[in-house]
Amino acid sequence: MIRPAGVCVAGCTALLSAACAISAGMRLGPADRGCPDRDVASPGTAITWYAPAGPSDGKSNERWCETVGPSVLEALPRASFPSPGPADSMAVVAWNILIGGGDVPLFLEEVLGYQCHPTSPELGIGFSHFVLLIQEAHRRSAAIPDVPESFTFPPRVVPESPPEGWPDIVELARGCGLALFYVPSARNGPETVGGEREDKGNAILSTLPLEDLLAIELPFEAGRKVAVGATIRTAGGAQLRVTSVHLDVASTLYRTFKTANTTRLRQATGLIEALALIETGGVTSGIVSVGSGATGCEDLPGPIATVAAGDFNTWSAGESAIDQLRLCFPDSPPWDGRPTYGSFPTDFIFFRTGADGQISSMGGSQTRIEKRYGSDHQARIAWFGPSE
């Protein structure tokens, strides 16, 4: 005979275990794996790496990172621009450029009043210094390792109508005389074209020198994502940390069920925790345990004002990942409520002031740029400057 009560007790125990197995727990610590992107194509410069320390995250990220080339740093812009004045604001742009499909020089000219030139670019009168936080930048190089096809490759993405010459992020930075920090996240297909291979990832382009470089490998979901960060010194020596972020659009079905669809919350939490570790003194040894739901921003603000912006791939502006970021970046310029990828609100600019309160958000809300300039995303722009 079946005993309903007994079945219920056994079943309930199994159910409770199943429900508790839904987990987004992760740990963060300094990355110590030997991947090619740990090298920098610029001697004498160090990048501080943060990565999830969970064995599953680590193994998955490692399978992807062994296919990419070295990071690229050109910390100083190739032209000397007038230093920002004490009252000058600075523009921060977040833009997914679709593997070079977005016409960056045209965008710079029309939106930021900047004429690209390798050695003598011009920043229009009345326009601000700027930082471009780029997602889906691509880079061609013979230094990207030629590995067997058994390695993990996402398929190659080629924009339908790229700008003339389809310059990669290094060519763009050099052609425009801008400072560059680029860290590849993944290969852009396994193909070798003319002895060169392609990888893709996040980048920072700037009219101001880039310091204190950070690479934050996010918890692994569907693909490897590395957020890149740098510090910029504005007028009067005030520092602003900027971070270019790209989260996954979806995980596998199995992971979606296993983690209860916390794909982007997990990655956002990883980002928040890494930035909090950096802000509160950083991690130099050991592993810091981080559980699900921990905001990692209780001790903030830290010493430096911080921007985290990019393509968060959110389907709704009310997603938990966005809410969590809003909590940890309480000084963000208000969102204008407009989507940037079709009808989806994917791109955001988050901000929190530093403990010194020297830099604050200026000019109202973060604004969507109407033209796509060849990308599938619209850019967002916000201004930051000295607090009054």
């Binding site: 219920c8 079943g11 409770l16 199943a18 839904i22 596998t252 979606t256 809410d323």
Partner: protein, 162 residues
């Protein structure tokens, strides 16, 4: 499966996303397990039908999963099992889940058309919640009907001892 599926989108809009998903999975599982236990105790024929439907559902779901595995680069065998499990939950109570899915999508569509801030993911969420609610309601109705019909008198010769 119905509980976690229903939670996927609505819970992603709360800061306690994991707690929300766990609560949904646990509550739906308890309802399904309780109902299934009583259906089995009182009318094993109904339970047999549900098991047959679940097996067919698993096969159909897994077949979809195999197609997805060939098309979607990141998909592997765990995803095939996942689509199979979802098909199994659907197949065990096909009428209830299908009706619930349809009702949920209908309500979601009306709200989507009527309320500007109601987004496409909300519409999808309404469908998934409807599917889960319909499937669970069907289990409860089966249990009530099995009880009122007095059972088939067939006993299953095993028991659990905790």
């Amino acid at each position: 499966m119905l509980g976690v599926t229903a939670s996927l989108i609505p819970c992603s809009k709360t800061l306690s996303q994991l707690t929300c998903a766990r609560a949904s999975t646990l509550s739906a599982g308890l309802i399904g397990l309780g109902s299934g236990t009583f259906v089995g105790a009182w009318d094993s024929r109904r339970l047999g039908n549900a098991a047959k439907g679940a097996a067919i559902g698993f096969g159909a779901g897994a077949a979809v999963g195999i197609v997805l595995k060939e098309v979607v680069r990141q998909y592997g065998w765990p995803d095939v099992v996942s689509t199979g499990a979802l098909g199994m939950a659907f197949g065990a109570q096909p009428e209830g889940t299908a009706l619930g899915l349809g009702a949920g999508l209908f309500v979601g569509s009306v709200l989507w058309l009527a309320i500007p801030s109601y987004e496409l993911p909300d519409l999808a969420a309404a469908g998934l919640i409807g599917m889960a609610a319909g499937g669970l309601a069907a289990w409860v109705v089966d249990a009530v009907e099995a009880n009122s019909s007095g059972g088939s008198g067939v006993t299953i010769p095993f028991s659990f001892r905790i």
